[in-house]
């Protein structure tokens, strides 16, 4: 299913060759949570491919498995079966240490409310991400330029508590992109924002997805922002449908 309009051209042609050209490919992934009678199938034979430069939204009710899909795609959880390829690399059976390396090198996360580090200024949030990834400034984006690109250049010296919710999300998006990841995973980015700011943030995500040619998966409850996405998928009871 493809809904609404986007601020950038759709990368439909790129989608078909996600496996070959990088991006995110989830093949037949199943994930169960809990033990015994309390076992829940969080992901049930999920298939998903997102090409570089494509912005995919996943909607669904609470408990439908959206966050579990992000966790599997983001190398935070190991699926019971199936494969997850990031930028052409299978991370399904990676050790915790290898998973951490994949997250450093291939994945950018945008969390709810930004989840910025309280002690760091906006500019330092980006520098810190480069430091964690073990990258020199030249290996990733220029942090200051990227901050300006997301409209936060004038708030470079401010800490999270001095920023509005929308500003924190903008910094969070820049932090996720500064290491030039192959895949951007976005968790409810508009959960704490009003309508206008939500629209701004998702517009920015769509723009940066196309600008940085990153494969973006956004999990959201907010149906008002779906018009900016290239594709919208629904998740119900652990199954993903287009």
């Amino acid at each position: 299913m493809t809904t609404g309009s986007s601020t950038s051209p759709r990368p439909v042609a790129r989608r078909a060759d996600a496996k070959e050209r990088g991006g995110l490919l989830v093949e037949g992934v199943t994930l169960t949570l809990g033990d015994g009678d309390a076992t829940v199938t969080a992901l049930d034979d999920v298939h998903l491919d997102v090409a570089p430069g494509e912005f995919v939204a996943i909607v669904g009710p609470s408990g439908s498995g959206k966050s579990s899909l992000l966790a599997v795609a983001g190398a935070l959880t190991t699926p019971d079966s199936g494969r997850v390829l990031l930028d052409g690399v299978d991370i399904s059976a990676a050790s915790p240490r290898e998973k951490a390396r994949h997250r450093r090198e291939r994945i950018g996360f945008v969390f709810q409310s930004g989840n910025l580090i309280p002690a760091l200024t906006s500019l330092d949030q980006l520098r810190f991400a480069l430091d964690v990834a073990g990258k020199r400034p030249g290996d990733g984006h220029d942090p200051r330029k990227l901050l300006e690109r997301v409209g936060m250049g004038h708030r470079a010296g401010h800490r999270p508590h001095q920023l509005s919710g929308g500003e924190r999300q903008r910094v969070g998006i820049a932090r996720a992109l500064v290491t030039r990841p192959a895949v951007l995973l976005v968790d409810e980015p508009t959960a704490a924002l009003d309508r206008a700011r939500s629209d701004d943030i998702v517009t920015l995500l769509a723009h940066e997805t196309h600008e940085s040619a990153v494969a973006t998966v956004m999990v959201t409850h907010d149906h008002d922002v779906l018009g900016h996405c290239d594709r919208v998928l629904s998740m119900v009871d652990g199954r993903l449908t287009e």
Partner: protein, 380 residues
């Protein structure tokens, strides 16, 4: 280091409070270390400055109160001298007396003295920094602390009850005390008269001139003395110089009490630092989950936290030690037995920092258990 330093600056009030507690502990450590060193000096500096490897006491003498209970025969020194590993052996007399010093101004000063009876010319005879060496039968060479108490070279000291008169002829120039009492060296023969309770003009009982407290032993250069072999040959019970410290009145009780207090302080320090970093880690749990989700390794996060702990501990210990040294310097001018020496202070500082780091390391082990999955969702 990137995050560690910025968090130190950002949460300076929180880290400052923790550092303040460590600094206060460091001040206490300095003061206790000074008191400990001072008490050791006061208790056994007279023994420490003897050129002695071991003492041979009367056979069967226990460590406790050995110097006041033991009586040996001076001839037993000969048996020890014949030992191949013994460089020198000489009889040594030790007793505590009450006396009065009459100063040149004519005033009388009550004074307690630890009389060390040694043969003038033997290896036990003290070097003097001022005045005459040991030699006159009634001449005393005293610890510098005696002079600090108002007595001068040339003053007269009269032993209570016996009436034996001594003249201060010289000083060692340094602190020599035994059981918190100032040491005065005197010729062994004079010591034997006082020990026998013979005043001026009194008959000295038979055998008094053959008695001493112990035989002082000095090993040949580079040798260790076979004490059990020597004891069997000479009929004595010997102990090393260090072991003999415990025979100084009150020494074991004082040092073990202070040691216990210091051990508690070190343990408290490690617990304080460990607790702080445990709470700090729990408070940052969601932040740590986010950082782990970003791909930070456990080592990266632990290194960052340990850098914070090292900075806090080093700075606060340094501040505490400087304040403690300032206060301690004032204490050295009082009669309190207090002495600041570099080696124990450096050891104490390293121990404080080391145990603090151990406490922090135990606490940051929680980082390993932080699940990066917790970064997803709306916990914050």
């Amino acid at each position: 280091m990137f995050l560690a330093w910025r968090e130190l600056v950002f949460a300076r009030a929180r880290f400052g409070l923790m550092g303040g507690v460590v600094a206060l502990i460091a001040i206490l450590v300095v003061l206790l270390s000074g008191l400990s060193t001072g008490l050791v000096n006061d208790g056994v500096s007279g023994l420490q400055r003897l050129p002695v490897t071991a003492f041979a006491f009367a056979e069967g003498t226990k460590t406790d109160s050995a110097f006041s209970r033991s009586t040996v025969n001076v001839d037993q020194a000969e048996a020890w001298k014949e030992r191949q590993d013994v460089g020198d052996a000489a009889p040594f007399g030790n007793m505590l007396i009450n006396a009065k010093a009459t100063t040149s101004a004519g005033t009388q000063v009550p004074i307690d003295l630890a009389l060390f009876g040694v043969e003038p010319g033997s290896f036990l005879a003290p070097a003097v920094s001022d005045g005459a060496r040991l030699g006159d039968p009634d001449g005393l060479v005293v610890s510098q602390t005696v002079l600090d108490g108002g007595v001068s070279i040339g003053d007269t000291i009269v032993v209570d009850r016996l009436g034996t008169r001594f003249k201060v002829v010289g000083t060692t120039g340094d602190q020599r005390t035994f059981g918190h009492v100032d040491v005065a060296y005197l010729p062994l023969r004079t010591w034997q008269q006082v020990h026998a309770g013979a005043g001026p003009g009194d008959e000295v009982r038979d055998g008094a001139y053959e008695e001493a407290t112990a035989i002082a032993l000095r090993a040949k250069d580079g040798d260790r003395i076979d004490l059990s072999g020597g004891d069997a040959a000479a009929g004595t019970t010997s102990m090393t110089l260090e072991d003999s410290f415990s025979a100084s009145p009150g020494y074991s009780a004082e040092t073990s009490t202070l040691m216990l207090i210091q051990v508690f302080l070190y343990a408290i320090s490690a617990l304080v630092v460990g607790t702080f970093f445990t709470v700090w880690t729990i408070q940052r749990k969601h932040e740590l989950a986010v950082i782990r989700a970003m791909g930070a390794s456990t080592g990266y996060l632990m290194r960052d936290t340990m850098i914070q702990a090292t900075v806090i501990l080093t700075v606060s210990t340094a501040v505490g030690f400087l304040l403690g040294l300032g206060g301690g310097t004032l204490l050295t001018t009082t009669p309190m037995p207090f002495a600041l020496e570099v080696a124990p202070l450096v050891f104490a500082a390293l121990l404080l920092v080391g145990l603090g780091l151990a406490g922090a390391a135990a606490a940051v082990g929680r980082i390993v258990r932080v699940d990066p999955l917790a970064a997803l969702g709306g916990q914050r």
